[in-house]
Symmetry: C2
Subunit: 338 residues, 2 copies
């Protein structure tokens, strides 16, 4: 079916929908649970509280250095479950397709989702496909919802209230790679060899830290809005301050350069393979060491401290010795980043 394209009939619920399900979705996602014979998946979840989340993905372009919309749609939802304190188990996958989308492009995306789900150890167990007329959507949007169970090694669902003054803030590597990779693909910049999206499922890396009984106080992934928005939100919710020495922020020189050219701030760029962990000060070095044992955490480092000073505010000590109040993203820096 390589040269064919999506037709309205593929979304009819009739014969063509059945063929698409069989030749595309069952082919790549089919497993123990996913079957074309029932409209819902039946799951035998392990005991424990259930964690449930969802995200829609509208990234443009569909393919970018280091990933594609399908890879992103699996990573994003796996990571939302993981940073919330869940162990991801099963995903749904729902597609909105534009009439005229090539089946070859769709299959690349679907195959990438299947690969990423395998890597993360989750199953894609149920799904849906809608088709809209040419011009009514931009090629392909994906929604994934995810189910997991609360990881018994974690303290419950990740919540800002558990954060304390003195805690250290850790991130597992370079900031802004995803944002710059998508920007480069969109603008046809020739940097594809240098910077690739960090999009990756983080559940195994996070599991490694929890397995070693690090008493993680808080986790979240700095996706849309970037690190700055995540930390501003955390400072506001805890009524504690955050100190962020600029010299400690891991940003690639190439990312800094691109940001200067486009007037972006890497603090606000989206990441899709990063987790911010807040841990007690005395656990910080051990946490960094554990993260560095994972390929997704080789460049993990401590980037800041929770403080009683300047409550509700994130203050960056700049490299030239000044102080900058970091605010939440206002407006939009780079739309359709995920």
């Amino acid at each position: 079916m390589k040269k064919e394209t999506i037709l309205l009939g593929h979304g009819s619920g009739g014969r063509m929908s059945q063929e698409l399900i069989r030749d595309m979705f069952m082919k790549h996602f089919g497993g123990e649970v996913l079957t074309a014979e029932t409209d819902a998946a039946l799951l035998d979840l392990p005991p424990g509280m259930t964690v449930f989340t969802t995200d829609s993905y509208v990234v443009s372009p569909l393919f970018f250095p280091g990933g594609d919309i399908g890879h992103l749609a699996v990573c994003g939802t796996v990571n939302d479950l993981s940073v919330s304190g869940g162990r991801p188990l099963a995903l749904s996958a729902s597609f909105i397709l534009e009439e005229g989308l090539s089946l070859e492009e769709l299959e690349r995306v679907v195959s990438s989702m299947a690969d990423t789900a395998r890597e993360a150890g989750v199953a894609i167990v149920t799904g849906d496909t809608k088709v809209v007329e040419h011009g009514s959507c931009d090629k392909l949007f994906i929604n994934t919802a995810g189910i997991g169970v609360l990881d018994p090694r974690y303290r419950g669902i990740s919540h800002a209230r558990d954060v304390q003054a003195g805690d250290r803030i850790i991130v597992n590597g370079f900031l802004g790679d995803h944002g710059v990779a998508v920007l480069a693909a969109r603008q046809h910049l020739d940097i594809s060899g240098e910077i690739v999206s960090d999009a990756a499922p983080l559940n195994k890396m996070i599991g490694r830290v929890l397995e070693e009984k690090v008493p993680v106080r808080f986790m979240r992934d700095p996706t849309r809005g970037g690190l700055a928005t995540l930390l501003c939100d955390l400072a506001e919710r805890t009524s504690l301050g955050i100190d962020l020495p600029e010299s400690a922020l891991p940003v690639r020189p190439e990312v800094k350069n691109i940001c200067e050219v486009f007037g972006f701030d890497p603090l606000y760029l989206a990441n899709e393979g990063k987790v911010v962990m807040v841990v007690p000060a005395e656990e910080a070095d051990r946490t960094v060491a554990l993260l560095r044992q994972d390929p997704r955490g080789r460049k993990a480092c401590i980037i800041g401290t929770i403080t009683h000073d300047h409550p509700g505010k994130v203050v960056m000590e700049t490299e030239i010795g000044g102080r900058r109040i970091v605010d939440m993203l206002a407006g939009e820096q780079l739309p359709r980043i995920c």
Copy 2:
């Protein structure tokens, strides 16, 4: 915020996203579980196997006689869980918004979702919002995923293999109302007073039948592709035949008329408040009586029989005494119906 519209910044993940979540989604969906403070919902599900499903909704126009995209997005997923044998408990709601969509329209949809969820007794517990540039989607798409537990009063997940020759096929009322209501709204036909969408959550009506220990063999909702597609699929999967007397099919005269004008067949029109139940012959009358006790089932009736004759085929005895082989929907009759 009535006169304002959606801006790209509402999808940034930053300050404007937070305001939209607070002033729109938390306002209408906020409850015990949904909170802006965590990225995933934590659910304490009752014991039993978990049922999980998803659908994206792209219906055009957004508002139609008897419903809107939000009402549909809740009904559709509640019903998918219910007809699969699940008791619906929690939904996710994910929005793809076009830049320029009026906040007033969005709020009508969101408020309608909240009302429908309340009616069905399910909670909207987690969500997401993305914004795309003007022209990159058609106003508003919604995805809902749903979680339930297997209803202990049912035999497991609804599956064609449980159907037997001699079983009766029941539907809870008139066919094609949803399809015609959406068609009328799209074509600006002046029939809005006569035919309204049947979109409705069916979990309580189905629960009533299960509560009375009717040994239902199979359930499914005849949405996209209509009754014909559902029954063809059932005949193929069971390798049994289906007899469908045309005289028994409940179709409003107004729907028949519109179908004649537009060249549609009501057998293929979408329904969003109907369930097809297959039950043992000796249980058929009791099932109809139970369905009729519910406002959603007042016009319930037996529409056909499972047979060993013509295996894999649906045969309609027409009102003029002929026989017509009913096939699955080929191509597309009416796109963007849900």
